[in-house]
């Protein structure tokens, strides 16, 4: 099997063994549950504030999964083995990102459907919200790889990771929340897709460069 294949399968298995999407989805649900509790259940308020808060919660859920993504590999010596294997590190990093998206990003996007409905989003808009979350989480994972790699050697680097990644999350959040609120959907979708593609292209390259330095 190819290096991409074995890495993808192994990462997926490890993510599942570590609880899979359970914790991030629970966090996603819990964080969005706090919205009506804090704002009151009024329908029009929720309709306005719901979509953006879904996006913030999704971004934070992905962010929570990033801290250990490479730190564990650095500590247990796996990173050395990845560096010494024949396939380029960029490919291995990409496979790790792809596994993270399948294990966490997709389930989060699907969870977005019931959450959007609970926050009084019009039902006909739910499919586009789920699709935009799928694209958006791919973008989050892509640029998140960079933050995870840069902070891999920093103990308790969670806050630093968040600080580094937040400006990179801004574009997907802007266009994702636009899709969710039904504003200029087609253009927002196109740009959101661009963000995801850009993140997935740039992320592994920058992350691999950072990881080579971390291994020294």
């Amino acid at each position: 099997m190819s290096a991409f294949g074995v890495t993808f399968r192994r990462e997926l298995a490890l993510l599942w063994a570590g609880g899979g999407a359970l914790a991030p989805i629970g966090y996603f649900l819990g964080a969005t549950l706090l919205v009506p509790l804090a704002m009151g259940p009024e329908r029009t308020l929720l309709q306005a504030a719901g979509p953006p808060l879904v996006w913030i919660a999704a971004a934070l859920s992905v962010m929570g999964m990033l801290e250990r993504l490479f730190q564990a590999d650095l500590e247990d010596g796996s990173l050395d083995q990845m560096l010494l294997s024949a396939p380029p590190l960029e490919l291995i990093v990409f496979a790790k990102g792809a596994a993270l998206w399948v294990a966490i990003g997709l389930p989060l996007a699907l969870t977005g459907a019931p959450i959007a409905i609970a926050l009084q989003a019009p039902v006909e808009r739910v499919p586009s919200i789920v699709a935009s979350l799928a694209l958006g989480t791919a973008g989050f994972v892509g640029v998140g790889l960079i933050g995870a790699a840069l902070t891999a050697s920093v103990k308790r680097g969670g806050v630093l990771l968040a600080l580094i990644v937040l400006p990179l999350f801004a574009p997907p959040i802007i266009f994702g929340a636009s899709v969710a609120s039904g504003e200029d959907v087609a253009a927002a979708f196109a740009i959101l897709g661009g963000c995801a593609l850009g993140g997935l292209a740039l992320g592994p390259i920058a992350a691999a460069a950072a990881l080579r330095l971390q291994a020294e």
Partner: protein, 205 residues
């Protein structure tokens, strides 16, 4: 069973006037040695003298401060060497078998389950996750990378750590077979592994 016949290329390593540093601290300067096909080199030195750094530099993981490291006779440099470090590079939740298959895919080799089960004695724990293994069993699993994908150059950092007498015997046999097939083994050790090395390298500041 992996192909353990003689390597197509007869590898050799030449280290010339090598200086290594960690941060601003210079570990050692002006180290030179050479190892030819079939050599077993023991690297000795006190704690913190830079044994691990030397192995990492040869592996290409650490950039030298000055000097040259030349690995010759290896067709593809990315297929030239194995590094077994202090850390075993194991995942607690993955099984022994899953590790073998992962390495076979990553490095390009065969899982060699029979060899690992019988010679390295991991047969009974083959399906169990790494977290239930003893320290010695985990070390044996890390060493099985050497068998899963054949590489002409082995870089071993305290390979006998946590191994019992039986484990050490197997390790010595592995190194002997590797040398016989033309490979090079370089081990950083506290105390000699047993088999007499073809040369010893001392690192000191």
């Amino acid at each position: 069973m992996s192909a353990r016949g003689p390597f197509r290329d007869r590898p050799s390593i030449r280290v010339e006037a090598l200086s290594l540093s960690r941060g601003q601290r210079v570990l050692f300067e002006g180290l030179s040695f050479a190892a030819a096909s079939g050599a077993y080199v023991e690297v000795q030195g006190s704690n913190g003298s830079g044994k691990t750094s030397l192995l990492r530099a040869i592996a290409g993981l650490l950039r030298p401060r000055a000097g040259q490291i030349a690995i010759e006779g290896a067709e593809d440099p990315s297929l030239a060497l194995h590094y077994v470090g202090h850390a075993n590079a194991l995942k607690r939740e993955a099984s022994v078998r899953a590790h073998l298959h992962y390495w076979a895919g990553l490095f390009g080799g065969s899982p060699s389950e029979d060899y690992v089960a019988q010679t390295l004695g991991l047969g009974p724990v083959m399906s169990l996750p790494v977290r239930v293994l003893s320290q010695g069993q985990a070390r044996r699993l890390a060493l099985s990378r050497l068998i899963v994908a054949p590489r002409p150059i082995w870089l071993l950092d305290e390979p006998a750590a946590a191994l019992d007498e039986g484990g050490k015997a197997v390790l010595n046999e592995m190194i002997a077979a590797h040398r016989a097939s033309g490979g090079i083994a370089i081990a950083a050790v506290h105390e000699p592994l047993g088999a007499p090395p073809s040369q010893a390298v001392r690192v000191a500041a």
